[in-house]
Subunit: 345 residues, 2 copies
Amino acid sequence: MPTVTPERLKEAIGAVLTGVGASVDEAPLVAESLVRAEMRGTDTHGLPYLKLLVERVEAKMVAVPTRVTVVKDEGTTALLDGGNGIGQVAGWKAMETSLRKAREFGTGLTLIRNTNNLGFFAFYTLHAAQQGYVGIAMGNANAAISPWGGAEAFFGTNPISIAVPGGDDSLALDMSSSVVARGKIRRAHRQGEKIPVGWGLDESGMPTDDPGAALKGTLLPIGGPKGYGLAFMVDVLAGMLSGAAFGRDVQSFHQLMGPTGVGALLLAINVERFMPLGQFRALMTGYVESIRGSRKAKGTARIYLPGEIEAEKEQTSRARGIELQAASIEMVNQLLEKLKSAVRL
Amino acid sequence: MPTVTPERLKEAIGAVLTGVGASVDEAPLVAESLVRAEMRGTDTHGLPYLKLLVERVEAKMVAVPTRVTVVKDEGTTALLDGGNGIGQVAGWKAMETSLRKAREFGTGLTLIRNTNNLGFFAFYTLHAAQQGYVGIAMGNANAAISPWGGAEAFFGTNPISIAVPGGDDSLALDMSSSVVARGKIRRAHRQGEKIPVGWGLDESGMPTDDPGAALKGTLLPIGGPKGYGLAFMVDVLAGMLSGAAFGRDVQSFHQLMGPTGVGALLLAINVERFMPLGQFRALMTGYVESIRGSRKAKGTARIYLPGEIEAEKEQTSRARGIELQAASIEMVNQLLEKLKSAVRL
């Protein structure tokens, strides 16, 4: 597969973004999020996101340059309006706000309303961890999961990410509330394969192994009623409490049906309020060694820490270049050409 | 089944607790937690807990009366030492501390070290919700879940509870990080039944339908690596960051092997920092109606909200009395007799 360096990909994505009207301040940040998603193997948040974003900007459903405004800012809490702009710009500003507050007050909690798909959420929580803070982020999304016992999509796959300092500051849980992402079911459908029972329900709310039926139905939440409860609470905290859209009112980023109305929550906790950061990092070093060294299941060669697979892929991509499908390179180059940019991948 | 009123059960439990040395201040609070657990159908946190607690107090492995001390208290954050006392006393004081801080600063975050089993976690988060705050609580526990790919218990079932105001202030997610509690596997084992594959792993880390093999092995986390990540992060935030025990060092409340060393995290968020509480409650009313009214799966008569089944059981028990097994009543009466209390159930 062809490879490109992270720098070249970032430059090309940045040129696409400024080409459609993003500011020179925001383009590198958004490009960084997309490039890292590609490097980490979570590529739905990478180049496919870029294509969707450009379509939405051209359809005037995302406003660029992104104008994030402060609705409220009092002591430990803040509320931002994302200006229906690019999600990463609002998300980054929110985590920066929370970190500033956590530095001063111990914790910082910032909510965002009126934004769009924020890309991969460990982008924000790892930023907190790398500065010695616990980072917690969650956001809502368009309906994909039904209430437990239901047959109709109501909650998004509502991601939750938690990152903590320690190790090489790459420890991050970054999970959706569903067993699998819809993309996995779409892929099985394209390839004419069955899906395991437990991934999705058909339109009548019954378990199915037919990806076509699951795509018309809903995604199953992790742990049944537990994942339903998580998706519910993320929707309430990130969506309702922020004044964003929630429940079925959140629109899909994948369909040109108007502003998505997404909301998010970004929390930072100052480790130093509880123990010296050096002590915490030392405890974490011993902890991850114990986990790595614990007895493995038959056939398992290695135990990974939360976020470790993604962090290693990122390192490998940084060292050897990012593998991209020829079609993805072509897609970026076509966008650049259309936008009359001199840059090419 | 025989029934008792909540008041009588609370009085009897309170008499047992003061009989073994709990203070007259703490006994009613702890009794309230145990009685509500019985009423809510989460009875492992009720009378079986009482029996274990009394054994631990008599073995001098839990210190009563509970002396909770403030290790740190600065602005929005606090750290308490539970004095190896009764978990509910530390947990309640921690949530009260977080609520006081959230009233003043918008958020309050209190960690606890050196405590014991806190009973059911919605006890604390519902208290926050009833006062118009978002309540979030989590705690660690003795090893039951292995790292993903492992065959050795390392993390506890590490519960997470989130409650929000609205409806009748009874909306609470209260979940463990495992697919089922160990108690469910113990019951199948006693009754000579198989368990579904997906509940537990045997000693070699392989899926099993044999409850005996699963009891020697580990519990499966919800959503595979996702639940592993949740259990990991709860252990780090509630255990490591608080200075409590964590990982395999947390001892079981069920075995007399010394202090459990449990840690917990209690967070309160002031809704009013983001929108008027009345507006939030109104949005929540519409939200729960939409969920209840959404299309049901074939064969489902009703959609429940997070915590609604437990809240209804609690209401029913309050109205009609709490159903107790004759053996449970006998157990409480024997404790009362042994402690020379005049109270009987």
